[in-house]
């Protein structure tokens, strides 16, 4: 086999991943790298160090990528920038050194940062609500933003009081703190971009061109909180619907960043969609219509939504099928893949679902046998991407290597 140049490899991988989404049979089953904590574990670096030292995080991801060679790469974006998080003292996060051990994935602390009485404020002017309420509640050093003047009133003679408000001591202090955190975040983003460029030079595209969150989760995750939004479906459905309309516009804005990328995958984190969280009736009333509407808008911009389900979604497959053909990828986690293929085959590509426990406690032979079954069923005539069921924290290297290499050998379409 002749050695391919990195440029050829890059083009080949992009094409493979575009083809699979479009339901054209690709040259072989694409394989994602299941990320999260694992690349750092593999490289022998603690997450705490990776979050504090951006160069170290890049180095670890290079090491992981060079050894395993999945088709696409997440890179160090999941090693969040601890120095910026410390400057902001985020209230709804715990991370290594801040409530969690040195090598534990950072985690979200469910919290209510928008009260039931504040729905109208959010609906009428989400930007002002985020600036003056959500920011100070999330980031104590930005407390002064609670005095932030409403920009919508700056017109005509409003600018006089508005600009005076911007100059107040409290707002100025908050802006100084925000700028310090912003500079740190800039260094982190530079590192992310540098890494993507380095990977492109090696022949590997990035897995995401934008990140997004389903509209229901935009409201539920850090605004209302999980418990509150679930009760809101019964307590104040009308307000929730209004807020979800707003969130759908925000969803489209988030995802639109993927437009024009070589591989315009918009990675959508799906948090509260499963039967564990709500009934089918609730799903089709509150969750799905807004996500679908948002995805259709992204598809119109040439973007490929990749919906990362993170749990068994068998009961939602019929809804998922209601999208244009060959435009969406569903990463269906632990869902029965034969079932997923039978419902979504010919409509949308599916990704997953090698059990994480198998990658940790099984043998390479077990992994190969599982992957063979997946390729034979879910991979029939394309429309399938190999990956772990959920992002990987722990695994045996030989098992992960078996998953990736076996897919490259056995997953070739003839």
């Amino acid at each position: 086999m002749s050695e391919k140049s990195p440029q050829e490899l890059y083009q080949e991988r992009v094409k493979r991943c575009l083809d699979v989404a479009a339901l054209k049979v690709p040259d072989r089953v694409p394989v994602f790298g299941p990320y999260q904590l694992y690349p750092y574990t593999f490289a022998g670096v603690t997450l705490k160090d990776a979050m504090n030292d951006y160069a170290l995080a890049r180095e670890a991801c290079h090491k992981f990528q060079d050894y395993f060679q999945p088709d696409l790469d997440f890179g160090p974006i999941l090693a969040y920038p601890a120095p910026a998080m410390e400057l902001l003292n985020i209230k709804w996060f715990k991370w290594p050194g801040h409530g969690l051990g040195n090598h534990t994935m950072y985690q979200y602390v469910d919290s209510e940062n928008m009260t039931a009485e504040e729905y109208d404020e959010f609906i009428e002017d989400p930007s002002h609500f985020i600036m003056s309420k959500w920011m100070p509640r999330s980031f104590p050093p930005l407390q002064g933003l609670s005095d932030w003047p409403a920009i919508r009133r700056f017109m005509w003679f409003g600018w006089t009081g508005g600009l005076a408000g911007l100059a107040s001591d409290s707002v100025q202090e908050a802006l100084r703190n925000a700028a310090a955190a912003g500079e740190e975040l800039g260094r982190w983003f530079d590192s992310i971009v540098q890494y993507a460029d380095e990977m492109k030079a090696k022949g590997t595209p990035q897995l995401y061109a934008a990140f997004d969150w389903a509209p229901f989760d935009i409201i539920g995750d850090t605004l209302r909180g999980t418990r509150e939004i679930l009760m809101d479906m019964r307590r104040r459905p009308d307000k929730l619907h209004e807020a979800l309309e707003v969130a759908t516009r925000i969803f489209i804005e988030y995802g639109s960043g993927a437009a024009g990328a070589d591989l315009p995958y918009c990675w959508i984190w799906m948090h509260k969609a499963t039967r564990n969280f709500m009934s089918d009736e609730q799903f089709k009333t509150f969750y799905w219509p807004y996500l679908r509407k948002g995805m259709l808008a992204l598809i119109d911009k040439g973007i490929i939504p990749v919906v990362y389900c993170e749990a068994d979604v068998e009961s939602r497959l019929e809804h998922f099928a209601d999208v244009p053909k060959g435009k969406v990828i569903y990463h269906v986690s632990t869902t029965d893949m034969a079932k997923a293929k039978s419902v979504l085959g010919g409509i949308a590509a599916i990704a997953g679902n090698v059990p994480n426990i198998l990658l940790l406690s099984g043998t390479p032979d077990d992994v190969r046998a599982y992957c063979k079954k997946l390729i034979d069923t879910a991979g029939k005539n394309g429309g399938f991407i190999m990956d772990a069921a959920v992002m990987l924290d722990e695994a045996k290297a030989e098992n992960l290597k078996a998953m990736i290499n076996f897919t490259k050998e056995y997953g070739v379409y003839k």
Partner: protein
């Protein structure tokens, strides 16, 4: 009126339920009757959850209604009200390194509704704390919860610590969490994996002879 209250709670008519409870108190009814109505409604809610009619939102709302009823009647409640003997005691928590609590709290709630004495010891619980709590509370059943894949290892460590403390034979251990399965239970050395709260209740009942 009590039956109306049971229906209102069970049907998720929160405003009506609170209004009825308030009226009952104002009419001088026994506060215990209000709590009894709550328990009766919870049993019905549990049945509807088992039947797939109710889901997490209803359980959370039910829990919140019970809290409100409790706040309402507690100041007027006489001490020493008769209580049913629980089927058994359960210690439940999310293992160390993991701070996810929603699934675990639902299981705790359903066990409580199903007449278990439940000690919900929170999230990020170290193996040492599990051991201490088991020693202190002498549960029949231990529930280990975890959402992250790191929980595979941590559950294993926790079970090993319980074994090392010589208490493995005294408790049945069940695990749960969205990416858990039978294999994960075996890996951890637990007795069972439950995919949902209903299954957890079933296991707990089968181990304690509860009906």
């Amino acid at each position: 009126m009590k039956e109306k209250l049971v229906n209102a709670i069970a049907d998720m008519n929160e405003k009506e339920a609170m209004h009825l409870a308030q009226t009952m108190l104002e009419n001088g009814e026994d506060p215990q009757a209000i709590l009894d109505a709550g328990s009766e409604a919870m049993a019905r809610i549990g049945d509807r959850y088992d039947a797939g009619e109710y889901f997490l939102p209803e359980l959370i709302l039910a829990g919140d209604m019970m809290r409100q009823l409790g706040d309402l009647v507690k100041p007027k409640l006489r001490a020493g009200a008769a209580q049913r003997k629980p089927f058994g005691t359960v210690v439940i928590g999310t293992v160390a390194g993991d701070i996810h609590d929603i699934g675990k709290d639902v299981v705790a709630f359903m066990l409580d509704v199903n007449n278990f004495k439940v000690h919900n010891i929170g999230v990020d619980v170290s193996e040492a704390t599990f051991v201490d709590k088991i020693r202190e509370l002498k549960p029949n059943v231990v529930g280990l919860s975890g959402f992250l894949t790191l929980a595979f290892e941590q559950m294993k460590k926790t079970v090993e610590a319980i074994k090392k403390a010589g208490m493995r034979d005294q408790v049945k251990i069940m695990i749960g969490g969205s990416i858990m399965n039978e294999e994960a239970a075996e890996y951890a050395g637990a007795d069972a994996y439950g995919a949902d709260a209903t299954t957890a209740v079933k296991f707990a009942k089968s181990w304690t002879g509860g009906k």
